[in-house]
């Protein structure tokens, strides 16, 4: 039986030869991401900024202007209204009042909005995050990303050599930076589930990188005299078929989620899809070429071949 091979056997693509182009491109993208982040900032959701979010659904298409007028009359401060998935559904965001210490303001705001919407809307979801909780979520969120990256650094160091761990972590930082960059550029809602997506991307991208590195290590033992750039290139080519296959299966599952999984997790799946693309790219074009720059120990005679 003839099987589908997305990547032909025995490829010899010169990934390492083009490393300057790839690395410059990535460097530009990372700097651009940081720039966009500094210029636009992230569109933080209520998880991180505090405030109230109400999802409501009407029988007929919603006139956003009219609804804006009705809610504006309640004097709730900054209110954002947007369509959510369908034209009958809306997402209402009410900003945190200045100087609030608990969620009491938001609670009364919700009560008033509920009252106003009661006659023609079904309130499907209410989320209120008080300032104390949002501050903690920012803190734990940052800590989690740092902890995730640090634990990868240590694990790879432990299993490989320090050059590998630095290379892998730089690739991770690259992925995280580009993900934050796209969220800053498109001003997509950045909430707790996006943070979860970033951590999953960290895991996924690391997974990809480790597979390539594993082959690099194996080849370092096998070809003791081979030029490092050629050796790295062989490792990438040998694992290329697997890298592409896994990205495709993961992408298939993610696309199903993105298209059919509903509006609530669309942001999450978008981040994941982006992360899989970036993570796959960085494992091939960034993580391995970085080993060239960092220089790798060539004498592996003391270590065992498994």
């Amino acid at each position: 039986m003839k099987t589908l091979k997305l990547v032909p056997a025995n490829t010899a693509i010169g990934f390492i030869r083009h490393r300057t182009i790839a690395m410059s491109l990535s460097l530009v993208l990372v700097i651009a991401s940081i720039g966009v982040f500094l210029a636009n900032g992230l569109n933080f959701g209520i998880d991180f900024r505090g405030g109230t979010l109400i999802e409501a659904s009407a029988e007929s298409p919603v006139d956003l202007g009219e609804l804006r007028g009705r809610l504006g009359a309640l004097n709730l401060g900054e209110v954002q209204i947007q369509e959510f998935g369908k034209n009958t559904d809306v997402l209402i965001r009410i900003a945190e009042a200045e100087g609030a210490t608990d969620a009491s303001n938001n609670l009364s705001a919700v009560e008033r909005v509920r009252g106003e919407l009661a006659r023609d809307f079904d309130v499907r979801r209410v989320e209120i995050v008080g300032p104390q909780v949002s501050a903690e979520l920012i803190q734990t969120g940052l800590m989690a990303v740092v902890a995730a990256i640090a634990s990868m650094l240590i694990y790879i160091w432990f299993r490989f050599e320090w050059q590998f761990s630095v290379g892998a972590v730089l690739a991770l930082v690259h992925d995280v930076a580009l993900t934050i960059g796209i969220f800053a550029m498109l001003q997509l809602d950045f909430n707790l589930s996006i943070l979860a997506a970033i951590l999953t991307i960290v895991g996924y991208s690391m997974n990809d990188t480790v597979v390539v590195y594993d082959r690099v290590r194996e080849n370092l033992r096998k070809y003791k005299k081979m030029d490092l750039s050629e050796l790295l290139n062989i490792a990438i080519n040998e694992t290329l078929s697997r890298t592409v296959m896994t990205s495709v299966t993961t992408m298939l599952a993610l696309l199903a989620l993105y298209l059919l999984g509903g509006e609530v997790i669309r942001g999450f799946t978008f981040a994941m899809i982006w992360g899989v693309i970036v993570g796959t790219y960085s494992s091939i074009f960034i993580a391995s070429p970085l080993l060239m720059l960092l220089g790798v120990k060539r004498d592996w005679s003391g270590t065992q071949v498994n």
């Binding site: 008080g130 979860a196 697997r242």
Partner: protein, 538 residues
């Protein structure tokens, strides 16, 4: 790598059987499930609040108020103790988290030290592991003749724990009155309480019930001064203070500080209706002691008003028509039936030991939850078929093996989630869909490796063997990293995110097992039947 002993095969089969048994209840109808014998697992996946609808509230208990009360009590204890021993003192005052007092006469210092030290009591209800009983007060002669008394950290911690535990008890009573099924009420961190109530149709009412301290006291109204005069700037007489009604506009009342009877003496409360006006009212009953006290005071004050004060707001201030001797009474106010009902609930459940505030709320309506379940299910089915189709196209028979392993994997995830009674959330479903995509990775690694070995002109059996053994360390390293990410995610997460981390972590373990052990078994069994194949369907 390809040799499986009978023993091993039986082990794998048994494990799968247990997996199927734990997963099976999810596919049964409710009645069938309940009629299962006890030794068969019958738990199903626990749907998170985002899937079944419900309210998640994070409350913060103002434990500081209890500590403040304790310091106030301590201040009067010190006063009584020093007076009792006739020790002169001055400057008895509360300082930041303690009480300070200066002894007048240096000769009294030693006695004062003993008296003050005697106020300390062992910490009750503290940590069980420490056998050494610690004192709840730290008495320190800071300078000259001044003593500073502070609550010890142990005492503060024990008191906070007690306050939070009492609060949880009261919250449980209040929530139970709403008649919802299986609310979760648990302490989180030092002074927070997480309340999760599934399938609630009126979350606003829940919040209204939880937001009130419900401290009810009965006070006499001080008639020597008009409330509006005090608002205008006059000082209320000593022993009296100003409170307002909860109505709009507020009406000021001056009440005696000392309560006639406190709400703690209430034993029951229920809704009733006024016989003439048919307006809703709340009937209550005191315990014996409270009833007697209430009777005495009302008897002595016929014709005068008294105030029923709830959380420092006057809810009713009737004139005492006659002595109320039976130990029961009624509160009439401008209640709606629901308001009267809620007040009765609050009075029955008792007052919270400290005020609470709501820090976070996440409420999902049942409609959205059902939509999410439906969407998640469709995404899972479509993603699943896309992946298995792709695997067969790419690896033919071996792809089929991987697909059987994938199905086994989903069953095992379901089994573990049901067995652990873990909660399945919408991000959790996303985690499973993602696992479907990533689970085949281990097999992809192995199959690609086998292809490589075949390309080196190795015999099929050797190639398979090498493929499995060489891929093992890669699979291990690659999955440990994702697993680490899942653990950190779990630590970080609240509710839904935790659900994602759990399914991701379980998915990693089950997918490595199914990919590495189960497909290897299939391949080995297939090879046994084939003898020595010339080429592999790969």
């Amino acid at each position: 790598m390809l040799h499986f002993s009978k023993f091993k095969i039986t082990g794998i089969a048994l494990l799968m059987l247990v997996g199927v048994m734990f997963a099976l209840p999810n596919f049964m109808r409710e009645e069938t499930r309940l009629s299962l014998p006890d030794f068969v697992p019958s738990g199903t996946l626990n749907l998170g609040l985002d899937l079944q609808g419900g309210s998640h509230l994070l409350l913060s208990v103002d434990t500081d108020s209890v500590q403040r009360e304790r310091l106030e009590d301590l201040t009067s204890d010190i006063r009584l103790a020093l007076r009792g021993e006739r020790i002169g003192y001055s400057g008895l005052s509360r300082i930041d988290n303690g009480v300070s007092v200066t002894i007048r006469d240096a000769a009294d210092m030693e006695k004062a030290a003993t008296v003050l030290q005697d106020l300390a009591q062992p910490v009750s209800g503290g940590v069980l592991t420490s056998f050494e009983q610690r004192a709840d007060l730290d008495v320190e002669n800071t300078q000259g003749q001044t003593f500073v008394l502070r609550a010890t950290p142990d005492a503060i911690a024990a008191r906070n724990t007690r306050t939070v535990q009492q609060s949880i008890e009261i919250i449980r009573r209040r929530v139970d009155e709403l008649g919802t099924t299986e609310p979760t009420i648990q302490r989180q961190g030092e002074k927070r309480i997480l309340v999760q109530v599934p399938g609630l149709d009126d979350p606003e009412r829940l919040k209204a019930l939880l937001g009130q301290t419900a401290k009810m006291n009965f006070h006499l109204v001080d008639q020597t001064i008009n409330g509006y005069d005090v608002v205008g700037g006059k000082r209320p007489p000593a022993g009296s203070r100003l409170v307002y009604t909860d109505t709009e506009p507020e009406v000021p009342y001056v009440i005696r500080r000392r309560a006639i009877v406190s709400g703690e003496r209430l034993v029951d409360a229920s809704v009733g209706f006024d016989q003439q006006t048919n307006a809703p009212e709340v009937n209550f009953r005191f315990d014996t002691l409270g009833g007697r006290k209430f009777g005495e005071v009302t008897q002595a004050n016929i014709g005068r008003p008294f105030a029923i004060v709830l959380d420092d707001k006057v809810i009713s201030a009737p004139i005492i028509q006659s002595a109320i001797l039976g130990g029961s009474g009624r509160i009439t106010g401008n209640f709606s039936v629901q308001e009267a009902n809620d007040l009765a609930i609050l009075l029955r459940a008792g007052a919270l030991p400290a005020p609470m505030s709501i820090l976070e709320e996440r409420t999902v309506g049942p409609g959205l939850g059902a939509d999410s379940v439906a969407a998640g299910r469709i995404a899972l089915i479509v993603g699943f078929f896309a992946v298995i189709g792709f695997m067969v196209v790419s690896y033919s028979l071996f792809g089929l093996f991987a697909n059987v392993a994938l199905i086994a994997n989903l069953l095992l995830i379901m089994a573990v989630l049901s067995g652990l009674q873990a909660t399945l959330t919408l991000p959790g479903i996303a985690g499973i869909v993602l696992t479907v995509g990533m689970a085949v990775d281990a097999n992809v690694l192995i199959f690609e490796r086998i292809r490589e070995e075949l390309a080196l002109d190795k015999a099929p059996i050797i190639a398979i063997d090498m493929g499995y053994s060489r891929a093992l360390s890669t699979i291990f390293d690659a999955n440990v990293t994702t697993f680490l990410a899942a653990i950190i995610l779990f630590q970080l997460g609240s509710g839904p995110i935790r659900g994602f981390a759990i399914t991701l972590a379980i998915g990693i373990v089950t997918s490595v097992f199914t990919a590495f052990v189960l497909t290897r078994l299939f391949v080995a069994l297939w090879l046994r039947r084939q003898g020595k194949p010339e080429a592999l369907p790969l």
